[in-house]
């Protein structure tokens, strides 16, 4: 699998341009350097180099002392210099591995390069387009290319590998790795072989994959397609195939039978990089805990389902662990994060979540109130205790108070009360609903017990 990831940097790979936000107007994040005007020169972005080194360390790669940039030469209108600055024979890092479920996936290399611009064609298909426009906002945006060895055996494994990479990159702060924003692009190479054979078949490379789901489907489709080709006596052609989300199938884009000659040679405008060992040591020391290690620890006191959600996101895992450290109960807090935080992305400071979880756990507020308090606390930054006090969310558990309320509910719903007494137990739901409407902060457990007692 080849995975391109945009490292988290303020500026482009070789110039001072800010990285364009998604959907910025065309050619508004460009300068003389990324436009490839004559006489301009590249200067490497240190933050991008650092993100690449961190990624390499997290993937257990070796980092050679000497690395350099090379020019990959080809002409295309989205490539302003007529060459892409990339890395050829001395990449930033080599020979790593990452654990995905039970499989160890070997990483061949992680290197740095620059992105190209993009073409916008007027008309429906490229060959019919009568005008093409060039947008160079993306030109020169840094990219890390992570290349794995052919160790993945199924669509499931490929998807799990890609998700693991995303989790890892986010955990170490190397990239946001959001596929929908184009910060992560995956290109699986697919080949099939006979069950008895070790020899891999002819491979095809898949492009245009925009989500983990598309990745999974594209691979399933391609495996099936290759199987059919071979079973009907055909031959798989080495080529690049695109994934069509609309048609849910792959289609031939470009034959690779005649490999393009990129005439790689060392980039003379950038001196070779001597990566200092002290820098590597420092980056290694400051690397946060890796997701696999953290997941193992979370599994000690949480069920796998909760760990799958919390362990996949550094922010969620931080929130969980910090809240628990401040006295929040473990499982209820984990459930809260899975159900209330993960879907909305609303993150509260851990001390506020801890306080809220204690209020909920002690029965001081209802779950419904807790949801409202949480949202308000995130939006205003005030503490849950303050909000509860101000809104009077505090739960009413006082028996004499609740007894008056329960009597009023029974009086107001004579039919439901009669039904219940006649054995229709579900009638209790209507009574409880009316009670909650009259008194949202009533402790549901105490109120329920009182109703049962009065109707007995």
């Amino acid at each position: 699998m080849e995975v391109h990831v945009q490292p988290k940097t303020r500026t482009k790979m070789f110039c001072g341009c800010a990285v364009a936000p998604l959907n910025a107007p065309p050619n508004t994040y460009v300068c003389e350097i990324c436009l490839g005007l004559p006489g301009t020169l590249p200067v490497a972005n240190k933050a991008a180099v650092e993100a690449c080194l961190k990624t390499a360390l997290a993937l257990n790669c070796e980092i050679p002392r000497h690395t350099k940039f090379d020019r990959k030469n080809y002409m295309y209108p989205d490539l302003p210099k007529g060459y892409q600055i990339s890395q050829y024979d001395l990449p930033m890092s080599v020979s790593g591995h990452v654990e995905v479920a039970t499989r160890k996936v070997r990483i061949r290399r992680v290197h740095l390069e620059e992105d190209t611009g993009k073409l916008v064609h007027a008309g429906d298909k490229l060959h019919k387009a009568w005008e093409s426009y060039v947008d160079l906002n993306r030109a020169g945006v840094p990219l890390m290319e992570i290349v794995s060895e052919p160790d993945l055996r199924s669509a499931d494994e490929a998807r799990d590998y890609a998700t693991e990479l995303r989790t890892l990159l986010r955990a170490i702060g190397a990239s946001e790795a959001e596929m929908e924003k184009g910060q992560m692009r995956v290109e699986p190479n697919i080949s099939i072989r006979r069950a008895a054979s070790d020899e891999l078949g002819v491979k095809t490379e898949l492009k245009n994959i925009n989500s983990f789901r598309a990745l999974h489907r594209a691979i399933l489709f391609e495996v099936e397609r290759q199987t059919q080709v071979l079973e009907s006596g055909g031959r798989v052609v080495q080529e690049t195939r695109g994934w069509s989300e609309a048609e849910q199938r792959t289609f031939s884009q470009r034959s690779k039978e005649f490999a393009e000659d990129y005439r790689y040679f060392p980039e003379p405008d950038l001196p070779p990089l001597e990566v200092e060992r002290t820098w590597i040591d420092e980056l290694r020391r400051n690397l946060p805990e890796l997701p696999s290690v953290r997941r193992a620890r979370l599994l000690d006191h949480l069920p796998a389902a909760q760990v799958a959600v919390i362990g996949a996101d550094r922010e969620l895992a931080d929130l969980y662990e910090n809240a628990v450290a401040r006295g929040a109960p473990a499982l209820p807090t984990a459930n809260w994060i899975v159900n209330e935080v993960a879907p909305t992305g609303k993150l509260s400071p851990p001390e506020n979540l801890a306080e809220l979880m204690k209020l909920l756990h002690d029965g001081a507020i209802t779950r419904d109130s807790a949801r409202e308090v949480y949202v308000e606390s995130v939006e205003t930054g005030r503490t849950p205790a303050e909000i509860v006090a101000e809104h009077g969310y505090a739960q009413v558990s006082d028996e004499s108070e609740l007894r008056v309320l329960a009597e009023a509910v029974i009086d107001a719903n004579p039919k439901a009360a009669a039904d219940y007494r006649n054995g229709k137990k579900q009638a209790m739901q209507a009574l409880m609903a009316d009670l909650r409407k009259r008194a949202p902060h009533a402790n549901p457990k105490v109120a329920n017990e009182l109703l049962l007692k009065l109707l007995a």
Binding site: E32, L35, G36, L37, P38, G39, T40, L41, P42, V43, A44, R71, N73, M75, Y76, P77, P80, K81, G82, Y83, V134, D261, R263, Y264, F265, P268, D269, L270, P271
Partner: protein, 488 residues
């Protein structure tokens, strides 16, 4: 009087300006009048920059009046057509860039502007600095001010001719295989190529990135040294630039060759095709240097023969990549009526590039192709390493290396255009300095048949001060100083 003003050195001009004897405006006017009289014959300039010279001369006069004159205040300067100047048409001598006005100024030029220099215009050169005669210009050939039927050398022929003809006090050039030193020799002026990395290449339209360096033309070693010192140094926009020491400009009393060991490489001394008149001038120069107290020692650069071949692999390989951006998509010439993008590329480049540029792009593309890379590019890089080692060995035995700059004097226009190999041989004594990244200078050392001969001094990496010391001692001892050619 007017002609006197065009023959001044920087030091004299600065003194007169500060005394108030002349104004920057008068100095510029003297040069413009001389240009109007001579340049129709010499054709050193491609275009002029009156808005710049007017505003810069005014600014210089204002600062001089306030007693805040920077070192080059009011000094008239010409700039080779490969150095980008904001808003000024810059074409690298090529039709493919006709009309291109860069939105930025090359660092070297910007630093000289900052130092007060006044830009007169853009000088002619071989297209993309590929050539040794300025005949490969996409516009017209420049002529040698000492003999209008002869070439000024190249590729920075326009800059050399402008300084030789008194059409500028100083000029900028670029040197990839000898493109400053060789035309300086052929036009009888001083031309210096600094150590690779000494001057930022930002804004220099690249020919061969690992060999290109920007340097000055002047009529004295001191003028060249001052100009170089003002544009040198690290630039955050060029990752190959450096702030290394070694550029201390000599004070007027310093600088003697007494006790220095000057190496004469036998491969350069007896280089194939060296003209007897050039050798005689070199012998005379060595005699003068020995009399001045230098010890002349025999050294060897055994891989010299392979240098030319390695150079003509590496330079075209880099140029084939550097020139890929001239595709008609974003700027410059564009053949937009082509039926598809590949044809657009081919038609634009066929029309926009001259023969020599196309030849080198093809040579370089071939040398980098898969299956040929190891045999050509990689082998050439190994030769480059051997050549560097040759120089390292030689500098163990001497402080600086001296030789002729060019094996011949200026040759007649048209005499080599049909034979690219004979043209390539013009650089045989200079390109080693580029392959090894060394500083080198060419200073006038007499004439042969009435045409100027240049003495080349090469120093170790970052050893500009050594090179300048030898060059100035020679200039002083020989009493040969660049003269302003009378032309017609």
């Amino acid at each position: 009087m007017i002609d006197d003003l065009t023959e001044l050195t920087i030091k004299d001009a600065a003194r007169l300006l500060r005394l108030g004897s002349i104004s920057s405006a008068e100095l510029v006017t003297a040069h413009v009048e001389r240009i109007e009289r001579l340049d129709p014959h010499v054709k050193a300039y491609l275009r002029f920059t009156p808005e710049l010279w007017e505003s810069q001369a005014d600014e210089a006069d204002r600062k001089i009046g306030q007693g805040e004159a920077p070192p080059l205040a009011g000094i008239p300067m010409a700039v080779k057509d490969v150095l980008c100047v904001r808003g000024v048409e810059t074409t690298a001598g090529s039709q493919i860039l006709r009309g291109f006005k860069p939105p930025y100024t090359a660092t070297a030029v910007a630093r000289l502007f900052e130092a007060g220099a006044v830009m007169l215009g853009v000088t002619n050169c071989d297209e993309f600095a590929m050539g040794s005669s300025t005949e490969n210009s996409g516009y017209f050939p420049t002529r040698n001010p000492w003999d209008l039927d002869r070439v000024p050398g190249g590729s920075s022929g326009g800059s050399a001719a402008a300084v030789a003809a008194g059409e500028a006090m100083i000029a900028l050039g670029s040197d990839t295989g000898g493109s400053i030193r060789q035309p300086a020799a052929l036009c009888g002026v001083v031309g210096m190529k600094p150590t690779y990395g000494r001057v930022s290449r930002y804004g220099l339209i690249a020919f061969a990135s690992s060999l290109d360096q920007i340097g000055p033309f002047a009529r004295t070693v001191d003028d060249a040294a001052i100009t170089l010192s003002l544009m040198a140094g690290f630039d955050p926009l060029d990752a190959t630039s450096s702030d290394r020491p070694g550029l201390e400009v000599l004070n007027s009393s310093g600088g003697t060759v007494k006790g220095m060991r000057l190496g004469v490489p036998r491969e350069y001394y007896d280089v194939k095709g060296i003209e007897p008149g050039v050798k005689a001038a070199l012998d005379a120069a060595l005699f003068i240097l020995r009399n001045a107290g230098a010890e002349i020692v025999d050294v060897s650069l055994p891989h010299t023969d392979y240098g030319l071949a390695a150079y003509y692999i590496i330079a075209p390989a880099e140029c084939s990549s550097n020139l890929a951006r001239f595709d008609g998509v974003r700027y410059g010439l564009a053949e937009v009526d082509a039926p598809n993008i590949t044809d657009e590329y081919m038609q634009t480049r066929r029309k926009g590039f001259g023969t020599e540029v196309r030849r080198r792009v093809m040579l370089g593309t071939y040398a980098l192709s898969s299956g040929y890379y190891d045999a050509y590019y990689l082998k050439a890089q190994k030769v480059r390493t051997l050549i560097k080692r040759d120089f390292d060995e030689a500098f163990k035995k001497c402080d600086a290396i001296v030789s002729a700059t060019s094996p011949t004097v200026a040759f007649p226009i048209g005499s080599k255009t049909q034979d690219p190999l004979s043209m390539y041989l013009c650089d045989v004594l200079t390109l080693g300095g580029n392959l090894a990244g060394l500083p080198g200078i060419s200073v006038p050392c007499g004439t042969s048949d009435g045409l100027p001969v240049g003495l080349q001094v090469l120093g170790p990496q970052w050893g500009e001060s050594v090179v300048l010391r030898v060059a100035r001692s020679y200039e002083e001892a020989s009493e040969i100083r660049a003269e302003v050619a009378s032309v017609v």
